[in-house]
């Protein structure tokens, strides 16, 4: 790492003699002192990330519980928990709901809505743009507990704002359509990120490309297909990767529906919470957590691979840009 950060030519050569005395790096610190500088960060990472992860892995192999005999003397049960998790009907149900949640709210909802707003606002300036951006951003930056309260007030059966607006008093949205509510809520909550990312990406599309499409008489969809999407594929993949992971791990829906009614909105993070802390089955919860981490890794790998493939095809094309 170190030699890369300094100018490669003369400076590096001059540094060579100094480095020899001080330990072989550009900054002249020496291994010992360099390690000392990094150590505090490494300790923090170890304490708050590595150790809990390993502890979770260990817990997953025990029958550790929050209360009772197993709480004081947890027994080693090997891969038993993992087998249980994979065979558990609740787990399958929760996985299916999480899939709906990620696809519906992140991949489709936030991406499409965010892109649509960015596209419509792309050459708009002044008040309209600032107001729209401010509103969308506001939904993003408000604390989860605050917006959860707002949404409960909006969707409440008696005296809820939505029922008042639609003229449908007594409709219990959170009970009749819990999953749909949670998905719409998350679209509203998270669209800002996609909007900002695509707003920046659209700035990368040369105006002359859009105008070429206009001159040929292309419709909006044709313009997006031929002139815009090929230019912003990298941005799309990055955005999808990030929001898929965030949404997969999102816990805010719990604040609105608490996974209910009857587990009908129990997405993965809520399911872990319920089994580990609600039912007190810490070992079993730890096993689910590990499975979640693995699913996250798979999602990340799929996107990273797609990004890298794109990167491999790109260098030739970069010449024109």
């Amino acid at each position: 790492m170190a030699p890369l950060t300094s100018p490669p030519s003369e400076a590096a050569r001059r540094g060579g003699t100094a480095a020899a005395s001080a330990g072989g790096d550009a900054a002249g610190l020496g291994r010992g002192r360099a390690a000392a500088f990094v150590a505090p960060a490494l300790v923090l990472i170890a304490v708050f990330l590595v150790f809990p992860a390993l502890w979770t892995l260990y817990l997953g192999t025990t029958d550790y519980r929050l209360t009772g005999i197993a709480a004081s003397e947890p027994k080693f049960v090997g891969a038993h928990n993992y087998g249980d998790v994979l065979g558990d009907g609740d787990f399958h149900h929760s996985l299916w709901l999480t899939l709906q949640f990620v696809l519906g709210s992140a991949v489709i909802g936030q991406t499409l809505l965010g892109f649509a707003i960015a596209w419509v606002m792309r050459d708009r300036k002044g008040l309209v743009r600032r107001v729209v951006e401010a509103l969308v951003l506001l939904a993003w930056i408000l604390p989860g507990s605050v917006i959860a309260f707002l949404w409960i007030a909006l969707l409440d059966r008696d005296g809820g704002t939505l029922n008042a607006l639609l003229g449908t008093p007594g409709t219990a949205w959170l009970i009749d359509h819990p999953m749909a509510c949670v998905i719409v809520f998350n679209v509203w909550h998270g669209t800002a990120f996609s909007m900002m990312l695509y707003g920046a990406a659209l700035g990368n599309v040369p105006p002359s490309h859009l105008e070429t499409a206009r001159l040929a008489g292309a419709s909006t969809l044709q313009t997006l297909r031929d002139a815009v999407l090929p230019r912003i594929r990298g941005h799309v993949l990055t955005s999808l990767l990030l929001i898929s992971l965030w949404t997969f791990n999102d816990f805010t829906p719990f604040l609105i529906t608490a996974g209910g009614p009857d587990h009908r909105s129990e997405i993965m993070s809520v399911y872990v919470y319920r089994t580990a802390l609600g039912d007190g089955r810490l070992g079993f919860g730890a096993a689910i957590s590990l499975v979640m981490i693995l699913i996250n890794l798979v999602i990340a790998l799929v996107y990273l691979r797609a990004l890298r493939e794109r990167g491999r095809r790109e260098p030739r094309e970069a010449v024109t840009a």
Partner: protein
Amino acid sequence: MAAITISELTKVYPGGVRALDALDLDVADGEFFALLGPSGCGKTTLLRTVAGLEAATSGTVALGGADVTRLPPGRRDVGMVFQDYALFPHMSVLDNIAYPLKIKKRSKADRHARAAEAADYLGLEGLGKRRPGELSGGQQQRVALARALVAEPRIFLLDEPLSNLDARLRLEARTFLKRLQKELAVTTVFVTHDQAEALALADRIAVMDKGRIRQLGTPTEVFRRPANLFVASFIGSTPMNLLPGRVEGDHVVAAGASLPLPDEARALAAGEEIVCGVRPEYLDYGDRPVDGAFAGRVSVVEHLGGSALVTLDVEGEPVHVVVGEGREPAPGDEGWALPRPGRVLLYRDGELVTAPGASEVPEPRMAPTGKENA
């Protein structure tokens, strides 16, 4: 193929910038027409308004007699080449060329045949499978030309067609463009800030400034008889000598030289303040005193290749003279610059003084010589 008729065209951008100011212009069918002017003069706005990429604030644009002012660009039947060519980097050369046909929903076989034909015509044989990034600048420009031509547009618009090419390619592309336009005989309008390009390519030139046309004419007219001081100082790779002077009887006195009053300026009263314009190319340099010549000391000699640009210091005013090869004086020499008969132009209040009553005498159409464009 269509003529372009622009009347009273005005474009005001939000924020109040008036890019086009009640502009009238007729471009004949099959003409190669240049919009020339400094940056910010409105030439690109005019081109884009004709294409439909900018909406006119008022006034009309008609193509082939039909008003298209409110038509979207896709329905105007216009081919345009952008300054950066705007080729899609993810498409092959053939797909790029076939793009307008794809939007028009032609069959794949048909559009590829047409695209291949256009590519061959423009000298792109064998490059059809490549990506634009693998082509040279000149080839990219030809791809953009082919794409603009493949749908057989009624008019053809070029935005700064040569500015993205290096100097050598530019000359080649210029000749190529001119031949292509003559062969296709499609009405073509191009925008340039380079007067040499406009003189070399165009059948007619509109010199623009501040959203208005300052002079409209053939390259010869614009070069030989600039209608006002703006055009006089803008056209010509060696700027025109513009010397303040005064009318005295049947002579004009400027920079210490007494020149015979041109016939067209007979109506000027004695004592009137004028500006005397004469191109460096139309001055003959000599090392002996001559009547009616600017006399001065040579201060700078700049070599232009086949000739040299000599700057004479005439009573504190610099006077530029183009001197032929082998006859260059040395700095410090005494020199005399004699205007050729009929080449002195007089400007009063910034406008060319012409014979009263008689409108502009049409100049014989003559291709500008290489020297004038160099």
